[in-house]
């Protein structure tokens, strides 16, 4: 038995063949074996080789994380699995679209805060804005928290994409 039972979040990058059902395989593995998914993003990243990159943030003890890595790697269409959290420094970014409705002082305050957070206005009406904010999950969350009191009516988040620092590819 492993003594280390501390639960920590890990960011895992998975390079997969972009084929039908691949996301279901990955997600099904997590649900079927009772692992957590905190965040999941997926998109094609290499059209020529038809590869997609899945970024998953999951939580577990070191033994569980090791098991998740091995289980992912076992899937036939999975090319590579890397635990970015373990393998060294990495960067994480998330994007959110935040819709705020309102007029007068609240509207001005929303715009001012957006500027502080370097959020872009990507849609504007006389009584609403849609902001685009990018950053770490913490920053995005803080921004959303502030907008809540200023008339936020809708929010969409991409989930986390991540990459190791330095010149090495996945």
């Amino acid at each position: 038995m492993n003594k280390d039972s501390s639960i920590a979040a890990h960011t895992v990058s998975v390079l997969v063949a972009n084929e039908p059902g691949i996301l279901a395989r990955v997600v099904g593995l997590f649900s079927g074996r009772g692992y957590n998914i905190e965040s999941l993003t997926v998109a094609e990243t290499d059209a020529k080789e038809s590869l997609s990159r899945i970024t998953i943030v999951t939580k577990g003890t070191p033994m569980i994380i090791e098991q998740i890595m091995a289980q992912l790697d076992r899937l036939v269409p999975v090319h590579r699995v890397r635990d970015l959290t373990v393998e060294g420094p990495h960067i994480e970014r998330e994007l959110a679209l935040v819709k705020v409705k309102g007029v007068g002082e609240k509207r001005v305050e929303a715009l001012r805060l957006a500027d502080v957070f370097r959020a872009k206005v990507i849609d504007a009406k006389t009584d609403s804005f849609v902001f685009e904010v990018t950053g770490t999950t913490g920053k995005v969350q803080t921004f959303i928290g502030l907008m809540e009191s200023l008339g936020m009516v809708d929010v969409g988040r991409t989930g986390i994409v991540a990459m190791s620092r330095g010149g090495e590819p996945l």
């Binding site: 038995m1 492993n2 033994m63």
Partner: protein
């Protein structure tokens, strides 16, 4: 691509691909979506088709075929219910790592998602119960996909692979693509078979330094091929160390050898479990620390250094943290370890080893499989002892259903060679043994194939009596009939105050008449002194035989590690009282 003059239909391509994959027999059941395949089968005589009576049985039969030959078992079923009926068999094959290719029919591509007649989301349903699955959407991909399916099924840790075939794909035409002559590397699937030589060296050092060692060997060695078992026996004898087998590993080491401690685990022998508990170096080859083996994880073999050799990295450190993990094929690992052992001629601590063996012999002297003889009634253990006496010098294969009879068979039948013992280990599928025996018999027409069964399990696939009658497969069904779902009854007795809720086998058929109705031979025995005669009769009858052996209804399977207990907390017999099973133990199965 435009169909050429020479182009053939998808169904014909499929048959061609199967032949090129050295398939000789397909277990299946026809239906609307696979009619083109059945038409192609009709027009050729290279592939033999065995018509089962239920798709679950087709998969189990293919499993029996695969496990007794080492080849890939092939299943052919139709869409919808054909595919869903196969799911239990697929899950069974996944849990026990059996190479199966299951071809399922599908509604034509333009109807997929339309809730068409006999449509099911087969790839969706079978995703978690296969090693991999494919939906072939264009005839141009069909042959290549089938070849890949065989490669995935048999390589690495083997398992079941489903290829879903829409009907229009089977009817469209395309040129054939032969399997690659030199295996091309798969783009993403590359199982590691060659063990790391540095780790092999470390393993040999650890093994050589051990004072209280034990080999703990599982089905991975069987899946690695017969040579792995030969090498295992060689290595174990070179070291002089004790060895125990999992349920799946029986036959990897000759049971008659003095170094063999018998099976370990929940119903394993006293000596095997105590050796596991007290060892200082555990050498796990091709086993996966299953919960039936470890019992209470926190108390599992507390003082040992553990070496784990497995072809599947996800089996390593899953439930038990090991000190040395070696990913690779068992045969290759054994080969390297033997080479190194010979080269190094390590000095084993013979004095310590002698003391260890002396301790093991005191455990062995407890004779943990002893049972009270039954007087007028047949004890199930006695029935199996007599069965073994009559078959031990024959060319025989054993399958089982699931329950008490299965554990008794594992304890009382002795296996000297691999691939002779087929039982549902991981999934524990009642109804497995009889169709598996059919598959074994198809592969070994002259051999004696016996399904050791219980009266409850056998009814789960009893319809296959019709199949064995059709092909005159001389499979023997040896029913230990105690009128109970015995293992359920045993747990109810030990854990639920003897409240035998729904575990009595009410309204059983007359098995002799039942056999007769299907064109098989039925025999019955309820007196111990008539048993030898009945077994002899069974063996000499060259037809399918059902033997209804009426055994002691109250007999329990011992030894037993109760739920939540450790290896050194075994119950040896009915007079051993378990401490109160903890709440934690109660929730375990």
């Amino acid at each position: 691509m435009k169909p050429e003059e020479s182009a053939t239909t998808g169904a014909d391509l499929l048959v061609k691909a199967l032949i090129d994959e050295d398939v000789e027999v397909v277990f299946g059941y026809p239906g609307g979506a696979v009619l083109p395949i059945y038409d192609s089968l009709f027009k050729q005589n290279r592939l033999r088709h065995i018509l089962v009576r239920h798709e679950q049985a087709a998969v189990h039969a293919a499993e029996g075929y695969a496990r007794s030959t080492g080849k890939v078992g092939v299943v052919l079923v139709t869409s919808g219910p054909g595919a869903t009926n196969a799911v239990t068999g697929l899950t069974d094959a996944l849990m026990d790592s059996i190479p199966i290719v299951c071809l399922t029919g599908q509604v034509p591509t333009h109807l997929i998602g339309n809730d068409a007649f006999q449509e099911a989301d087969t790839t969706g349903i079978t995703r978690p119960c296969t090693k991999h699955n494919y939906l072939v959407k264009a005839v141009g991909n069909l042959a290549r996909t089938v070849h890949e399916a065989f490669y995935v099924a048999r390589s690495g840790r083997p398992g079941p692979v489903v290829v879903d075939l829409p009907k229009d794909v089977l009817m469209n035409k395309h040129d054939y693509v032969a399997p690659p002559k030199i295996p091309v590397e798969h783009k993403s699937y590359r199982p590691q078979t060659k063990p790391d030589p540095r780790k092999i060296e470390q393993a040999v050092e650890m093994i050589a330094r051990a004072k209280r060692p034990v080999f703990y060997v599982g089905g991975g060695v069987i899946n690695s091929g017969p040579k792995a078992s030969k090498l295992l026996a060689q290595f174990v004898r070179m070291t002089g160390y004790p060895i125990t087998n999992t349920l799946m590993g029986l036959g990897t080491f000759p049971a008659s050898d003095k170094q063999f401690l018998g099976m370990l685990g929940m119903h394993g022998t006293y000596e095997a479990n105590l050796a596991m508990h007290g060892c200082d170096v555990m050498i796990n080859i091709g086993a996966r620390f299953d919960d039936r083996i470890t019992g209470n994880l926190t108390k599992f073999s507390p003082g040992s250094k553990k070496i784990h050799i497995d072809i599947d990295p996800s089996s390593i450190n899953k439930s038990v943290r090991v000190d040395l993990a070696i990913v690779g094929d068992a045969m290759l690992a054994l080969e390297e370890m033997i080479k190194l052992w010979k080269a190094k001629q390590p000095k084993v601590d013979l004095k310590a080893l002698k003391a260890w063996w002396a301790e093991i012999e005191t455990w062995r002297a407890r004779n943990c499989l002893a049972y009270k003889t039954g007087g007028e009634t047949i004890k199930p253990q006695f029935a199996l002892e007599r069965l073994y006496h009559h078959i031990k010098n024959t060319d025989h294969y054993i399958t089982t259903e699931v329950g008490q009879h299965q554990m008794w068979a594992a304890q009382f039948l002795k296996f000297e060679q691999p691939n002779r013992w087929m039982t549902s280990g991981g999934l524990g599928t009642m109804g497995y043994g009889f169709p598996a025996a059919m598959g074994v018999q198809i592969a070994h027409p002259e051999a004696l194939v016996i399904d050791v069964a219980g009266e409850a399990s056998i009814l789960m696939n009893i319809q296959e009596l019709s199949t064995v009658a059709q092909y005159n497969l001389p499979v023997k069904i040896f029913i230990l009939n105690n009128h109970y779902m015995g293992m359920v009854r045993q747990w109810q007795e030990l854990l639920h105050g003897g409240r035998y809720s729904e575990s009595y086998s009410e309204s059983l058929p007359d098995f002799v008449k039942l056999a007769d109705a299907f064109g098989a031979v039925g025999l019955r025995c309820h007196e111990p002194d008539k048993l030898d005669g009945v077994i002899e009769e069974m063996i000499k009858t060259k037809r399918p035989v059902v033997v209804d052996v009426l055994v002691d209804e109250a007999e329990n399977c011992f030894p037993m590690i109760p739920s939540g207990a450790a290896h050194n907390e075994m119950l040896l017999g009915p007079d051993d009282k378990a401490g109160k099973v903890s709440e934690e133990g109660m929730v375990l199965v």
